[in-house]
């Protein structure tokens, strides 16, 4: 009981974390692409074989005639999972 009380995360920081994620996904227009979540999951699986992954971000970029997917793989400093 006492242990739980000390470990209880203050609700303001819970709010901050939840908001950060919700707003990121609101802003991320690539979420509209139907295959995006599946593709993200597969990329995570492949990279994870070699090194720890924290997050994968995919953006659609348009420059003139060229459309590209920019893929950022954020590594987990703690290393291989």
């Amino acid at each position: 009981m006492l242990f739980d009380w000390f470990n209880k995360k203050k609700s303001a920081s819970v709010a901050r974390d939840r908001l950060t994620i919700a707003i990121m996904s609101d802003r991320d227009s690539t979420n509209d692409l139907p295959f995006m979540n599946d593709m993200k999951a597969e990329i995570v699986d492949v990279v994870k074989k070699y090194v720890g992954v924290r997050a994968v971000n995919i953006r659609k970029e348009i420059e003139g005639e060229v459309e590209a997917l920019a893929i950022d793989v954020e590594l987990d400093r703690r290393g291989v999972n």
Binding site: K10, S11, A12, A15, R16, R18, T20, A22, I23, D26
Partner: protein, 270 residues
């Protein structure tokens, strides 16, 4: 030529109209000619907050439709000659607005006032889009609470894609007001800190307003709280109005003041 500022929030009930009334009056008190316009067609409220509901003869839709002139429809505030008010129409709905009419009205107001402040309806639909369309700047009002902040971010996104200034390749200045801060809750970790809100929304802060029961009392009477020099929310609005008029006023940390030990000790001696 004046500056056009849209007051927006995304979510309703966060204090947008109260902020519009108080900042309009505060700017007027700084000696600037200011007009506040209620863009919430069908849900007129700014008139009540300003205590001018009995003086409305013509509304902004009648002006846009040429049934009345701007001069006929403007209502001068009882407390400050520099403040004028243009009412929303109560009988029509927001579908009567269109870009051409809005642009013409805004242009005309800009010619006679230093500050044109547009009180946006809640939500992110057409009424909101018309309010931001010809704005030079926007004041975004949030409460330190998840749904308000998330909705504000959506509203900012639309502002950044649909305003005429952005379409012209310029930027709309954005100023954040965090309203209804409960210092004791921030201190106990139960309310988001302003730094966190700024991090998430990534816009410039123009002021923080502490929770103040006097705001309801002020709206009951139709006397904006900025007139009450002792009120903590009124003082916060005075500071923000000063900043909007170009004065350098330090940000007061309303998240630590008037709570905690010192107040309790002070209370003993009262």
């Amino acid at each position: 030529m004046g500056i056009v500022i849209a007051v927006i929030s995304g979510k309703g009930g966060v204090g947008k109209t109260t902020a519009t009334a108080n900042l309009g009056l505060g700017i007027a008190m700084n000696g600037k000619k200011c007009v506040v316009v209620d863009f919430d067609i069908g849900q007129r409220n700014l008139d009540m907050i300003l205590g001018l509901e009995n003086r409305v003869v013509y509304d902004l839709v009648q002006v846009m439709d040429g049934e009345a002139s701007v001069k006929q429809a403007l209502i001068k505030s009882k407390v400050d000659d520099n403040l004028n008010f243009l009412a929303a129409s109560q009988s029509k709905d927001k579908s009567v607005l269109n870009s051409k009419k809005v642009q013409k009205l805004v242009k005309e107001l800009k010619e006679s006032f230093d500050y044109v402040i547009l009180d946006s309806p809640a939500g992110i639909e057409s009424g909101f889009e018309h309010t931001i369309e010809f704005a030079d700047a926007a004041i975004i009002v949030v409460n330190p609470e998840v749904s308000s902040i998330r909705d504000a971010d959506r509203a900012i996104g639309i502002l950044d894609s649909k305003s005429q200034k952005v379409k012209d390749g310029a930027e709309v200045a954005k100023y954040l007001i965090i309203n209804r801060i409960a210092a004791d809750m921030v201190q106990s970790g139960e309310m988001l800190r302003s730094e966190d809100i700024l991090d998430i929304l990534n816009i410039k802060l123009v002021g923080k307003i502490p929770e103040d029961k006097g705001v309801i009392d002020a709206s009951n009477q139709g006397k904006p709280i900025i007139l009450d020099k002792k009120s903590i929310a009124g003082q916060a609005y005075r500071r923000i109005a000063g900043r909007l008029c170009g004065k350098k006023i330090d940000m007061k940390d309303v998240e630590i003041s008037d709570s905690g030990l010192f107040k309790k000790i002070a209370g003993i001696f009262k």
